[in-house]
């Protein structure tokens, strides 16, 4: 995936996320995994499907992105471009992190109802589909129906006063 996609600021419109969700849901159904979280490389969650009620999404996203960044650096020191898949095995639950389009990380949580082989197989398929979605996102420059409100800045500063004191 090219440098532009990796570095450009991505904006996720509703239809993009719906497309992504469809791919993630299909992956869950086929692999038997519990949930999928898509996280951008800066640690912001993009979307999630499956059982995520007990998951602290913000913190998990930050940790996943940090973990991936750390192992990417390790890979570089070892002469690899990067490790595109990371797996962590627990006693009951396991997690696989898959790099998507050089821009996002798909965190898949699964348990012993499935196998890592199944997860890996379908993650590979999902990754290819998501690459296509991201390519479309990157090529589209703007979405006329969705944009930030004109007074966002002023309204946000008002909200700052609420949080930090005026």
């Amino acid at each position: 995936m090219d440098e532009n996609l990796r570095e450009s600021r991505l904006i996720f419109y509703r239809e993009d996320v719906e497309r992504i969700n469809r791919v993630l849901e299909e992956f869950l159904k086929l692999s038997g995994a519990k949930c999928n979280i898509l996280i951008d490389k800066e640690g912001h969650p993009v979307t999630q499907v499956g059982t995520t009620e007990n998951i602290n999404l913000d913190t998990i996203s930050a940790l996943v992105a940090a973990s991936f960044a750390a192992t990417r650096e390790m890979a570089r020191l070892l002469g690899e471009d990067e490790f595109t898949i990371l797996s962590h095995q627990g006693k009951k639950d396991h997690i696989q992190l898959t790099l998507i389009a050089d821009r996002c990380i798909m965190a898949t949580l699964f348990d012993d109802k499935t196998t890592i082989g199944m997860v890996r197989l379908y993650a590979h398929e999902a990754s290819k589909k998501l690459n296509g979605v991201f390519r479309d996102i990157e090529e589209r420059k703007e979405h006329p129906d969705e944009s930030i409100a004109e007074d966002f800045g002023a309204a946000a500063k008002g909200a700052l006063d609420d949080v930090f004191g005026g």
Binding site: T47, N56, A149
Partner: protein, 402 residues
């Protein structure tokens, strides 16, 4: 980089606290976590050594609430300040939308401040970012200490980008919120310029070393230097003096934390020791012994003595710092979020490497070792979080579910 998600109706920004070791970056975040309204903050997660030195980062999400129909959130990070953690600093700095540079105002720390600031410039340049364009606030911390340099001197030495400066005594909370508020305001201004109605999404940031004048997504177009703003803190001579800071009172003062809690994972432990290690290597490099993380076992006079025997406000600050350190120690085992609390729960696996062993070897650890340690630490934190989630499920099932 700001993430705008119209599906989740979220705007996510990343703010990084940067600075030399022990300048007060983590303290800033702890104060924000303590004082922020309970419904606006998430957990404070720290990946640190047993000596309470940041190993990878501290992280805390903070919500502004719904703005223009979008839930606006800031993710606050701190970096490890010690020199040999540069590789991890680069990782944390990636995608930053704004930086708070926390400088230690003490005269003897000036060189470290300058080294850290240059390091910040270098690391940003590698990512194609420029401090002329990236929102930044300089926080001059530890204003209460007797050897604190005048702000004018600090500005002259460090503030070549004419960034807004805020004086602070982070350990008491003074200056912490004004700093964050100022930077958040700058980040939002930038965002509004980039993504207002009719504005096109910015292109990719320029590559490192690029000489073109193409607008960067982080650019704040300006013809004149930004207005210098100083939020002062009363001189530290008088014990108990409260700072007069712009921004007024701190909201949520006295309120008990709500849903946010502190999770601290001690990634590296020096086996068989109770007191946090004081690395021998630090003395070898001629650096002053750490001041702001007092060991619970330390005698009352140690922190003050480490600061050259200052009295008055210095003692008061050290006492507050000591109390915070003791509170942190007390909170430590139960703060990881394990159910049932207490030290009887299983501790996550830790790497026995620690400050002692590293320093005994006479030098900093290799990048590989550090990264390996960080990865294992993160895995441990993830494991605890997952474990907590599962147990909640089980308990829910055992009591008859919903």
């Amino acid at each position: 980089m700001v993430q705008i998600n119209f599906a989740r109706k979220e705007v996510n920004c990343k703010i990084v606290y940067y600075g030399p070791g022990l300048s007060g970056k983590t303290t800033n975040l702890e104060i924000v976590h303590e004082k922020a309204p309970p419904d606006r903050k998430g957990d404070l997660t720290s990946i640190a050594t047993e000596g309470d030195r940041t190993l990878f980062f501290d992280f805390m999400p903070l919500e502004l609430g719904k703005v223009g129909g979008m839930n606006t959130k800031f993710q606050l990070y701190t970096v490890p300040g010690q020199v040999y953690y540069n590789a991890t600093r680069k990782l944390v700095l990636q995608g930053a939308d704004g930086v708070v540079f926390v400088a230690d105002s003490q005269r003897e720390k000036l060189e470290e401040n300058l080294e850290s600031f240059k390091n910040l410039e270098d690391n940003l340049r590698e990512q194609g970012l420029d401090l002329k364009k990236l929102p930044m606030v300089m926080q001059y911390n530890k204003r209460d200490l007797p050897s604190a340099l005048p702000v004018a001197d600090l500005d002259k030495a460090m503030n070549k980008y004419a960034a807004p400066t805020i004086e602070a005594v982070a350990v008491t909370g003074e200056g912490v919120f004004p700093t964050l508020k100022k930077l958040a305001s700058m980040v939002l201004d930038n965002l509004n310029k980039q993504y207002g109605v009719g504005a096109k999404p910015a292109g990719p940031p320029p590559k490192a070393g690029a000489k073109d004048g193409k607008a960067d997504s982080g650019e704040i177009p300006k013809e004149a230097p930004p207005e210098r703003e100083r939020v002062g803190v009363a001189a530290g001579a008088g014990a108990g003096a409260r700072a007069q800071t712009a921004g007024g009172g701190v909201p949520g003062e006295g309120s008990t934390p709500g849903r946010g809690k502190i999770q601290r994972e001690s990634a590296l432990s020096s086996a068989g020791t109770d007191a946090p290690a004081r690395p021998a290597g630090r003395e070898a490099t001629g650096r002053e012994a750490p001041l702001r993380r007092p060991e619970p076992a330390a005698g009352g006079g140690a922190p003050a003595a480490a600061r050259g025997g200052g009295r008055g406000a210095a003692e008061k600050s050290s006492e507050i710092a000591r109390e915070r350190g003791e509170e942190r120690e007390r909170r430590g085992p139960a703060s990881v979020g394990r159910p049932g609390g207490g030290g009887g729960s299983k501790q996550p696996q830790v790497i026995v490497a620690g400050d002692k062993k590293k320093e005994a070897a006479g030098g900093g650890p290799s990048a590989m070792v550090i990264l390996l340690g960080i990865v294992l630490a993160i895995v441990a934190v993830l494991g605890v979080l997952w474990y907590t989630g599962i147990l909640d499920e089980i308990l829910g099932t055992a009591t008859g579910g919903r």
